[in-house]
Amino acid sequence: MKRIYAIEELCLNCRLCEVYCKSAHSQSKDIIKANKYEEPAPVSRVTVYGDNFLSAALNCRHCDDPKCVKACITGAMTKDKKTGIVYVNEDKCIGCMTCLAVCPYGCIKEGKKAVKCDLCRNDDEPACVKNCPNHALIYAEPGGEEK
């Protein structure tokens, strides 16, 4: 499956990925509303760690054998059999955050429910990748060609 890969050598620490992720996962899909006014405030699924000298945008790895799915106590965390996307069923999630406690990559965010990257399920290309100004995030098949 296609996954998002971060290239730290190219990451600018501009954090636009976070801005666009919030907007893509907001109710309004409007960048200003999403980042400024919406309640509850959307949570960015991608996080840039580091500083201007060394940084990288970390995103869910959508593991083949995801620990978060195994640890989920309600069956809300699911790996889609067809797409391989690991996503949270918000109707079932109780926000206990056991998934967060077992994710070895630190890719699950706290919210009322667990919040994580869903590769922008309805779009061809995740918002963070699409809007990275320096192509520091790529969306690719492992071992395959970009895009």
Binding site: T74, C96, M97, A101, P104, Y105, P142
Partner: protein
């Protein structure tokens, strides 16, 4: 092949699903004494307070089991196992098996109390059925008393506080949540819960007797003589592994069902055990005990299922990891947190409402307690699980852990998922 799994919670379901992954044709029968399809047991407190509906509590869609060829027999108590004939007796039927897995979980431990047994408003809080009864009977007039300030008792108390007039928690230990909190953090959590939930705590106390009218409890008396009015008594002192079937069948039992720590096989080569009824080996201190937590149960179920169907998945690491929240206060714990030995050291970082305690053995992380500071806790968990020598790290652990605590090679592995592009 015929597979029988007794118990349909975390371990039982994981076991059945793993068998189906590795054996497309085998007959899988899951027998549960409960009348529900597999549901999320930890969610019952959320169900109680109305955060999830009953329909949201089930782990899979009901159509899933037929589609996956997993037969769930509900409301059926297994009475005995005949190891020679390889059959189990359940209800009026006898089921034969090639491989059997015991996922019987745990049963409540009820300490001796005068005048409690048999009363209709004295309930345990372990399954959906009990939660359903409580939800039906409790209302704004109800004065509830919860015996037990552990994980189950506190979750029950939280759930009840949303629907009852008052909630009192009676705990024998001098602090709440003794299994996951140390003294200092327990104090601050207690204060927070008291403020947010209007729950009254009676620590270092037990209930000695209950006062009743007919078959209903009306009050409870504490060790110190204090009497609390009580319309609903929740018994949540603790649980013990449910090992009765195994014992009757002559399997080796020592606190829990004894299994091979890698394969979950019991003393009978065709019988496996997984989940809260089975003993596992804590990888962190080598102790043999029941680690009654969901992720552990799932892993054991998967390993047992795989072994039963000829696969080779083994348990490689068992350690406790738990996340829970009370009124929005997040508590994340993992590994060894109540250790006394001098070989362990710890580091406490506090700021504002957050509390972080990291426990080390030499240069390895072996446990943590995170209160309102659980961001990226899984990175700590992975350091614990992989027994990483912290001297090999480049960054400091006291902040929010991030990929930059790792050296470049490990970091790239994490960023790129160990895949060459």
């Amino acid at each position: 092949m015929k597979y029988i799994i007794i118990g349909a919670s975390a371990a039982g379901l994981a076991c059945a699903e793993q068998i189906r992954k590795e054996d497309k044709n085998g007959e899988i029968t899951v027998i549960t004494k409960e009348k529900y399809l597999p549901y999320s047991r930890p969610s019952i407190s959320y169900f109680l307070k109305g955060a999830v509906k009953e329909s949201g509590i089930y782990l899979r869609k009901s159509s899933y089991y037929e589609a996956s060829g997993i037969d769930i027999v509900t409301g059926t108590q297994v009475r005995s196992i005949d190891r020679k004939a390889k059959t189990v007796k359940a209800g009026r039927k006898t089921y034969s098996y090639d491989k059997l897995c015991l996922c019987t979980g745990s049963k409540p431990f009820i300490p001796p109390m005068e005048n409690v047994s048999g009363k209709i408003n004295a309930l345990t809080f372990l399954d959906l059925e009990s939660a359903g009864i409580i939800k039906k009977t409790a209302d704004k007039k109800t004065r509830a008393v919860v015996i037990g300030g552990g994980l189950i008792g506190m979750k029950a108390a939280e759930g009840l506080s949303k629907i009852c007039r008052s909630v009192d928690v009676v705990e024998l230990s001098p602090r709440i949540l003794p299994s996951i909190l140390d003294e200092k953090s327990a104090k601050s959590v207690k204060k927070y819960i008291e403020e947010k939930g209007h729950i009254k705590f009676h620590l270092g106390q037990t209930v000695t007797r209950a006062g009743s009218e007919g078959n209903r409890i009306t009050s409870v008396t504490l060790k110190d003589g204090k009497e609390l009015p009580c319309d609903l008594l929740i018994l949540a002192v603790g649980v013990r592994p449910e090992t009765e079937l195994a014992e009757k069948a002559g399997l080796e039992v020592n606190r829990g069902i004894v299994t091979d720590p890698g394969t979950m096989q019991t003393s009978d080569e065709n019988i496996y055990a997984a989940g809260d009824c089975a003993v596992s080996v804590d990888m962190l201190d080598g102790s043999r005990r029941v680690i009654a937590l969901w992720p552990n149960a799932v892993n054991q179920g998967i390993a047992a299922g795989s072994q039963m169907s000829g696969g080779d998945i083994r348990i490689t690491s068992s350690y406790p990891v738990n996340a829970i929240d009370f009124y929005g206060l997040r508590i994340c714990t993992c590994g060894l947190i109540n250790v006394q030995d001098k070989k362990y050291t710890d580091k406490i970082i506090r700021s504002g409402s957050s509390y972080k305690r990291l426990i080390f053995e030499g240069s390895r992380l072996v446990g943590y307690v995170l209160i309102n500071s659980s961001a990226n806790a899984g990175i700590y968990t992975s350091l614990i699980e992989t027994k990483t020598d912290l001297k090999t790290l480049e960054g400091d652990l006291s902040g929010t852990p991030d990929p930059f605590i790792f050296g470049k090679a490990e970091r790239n592995k994490r960023m790129k998922g160990a895949l060459d592009l």
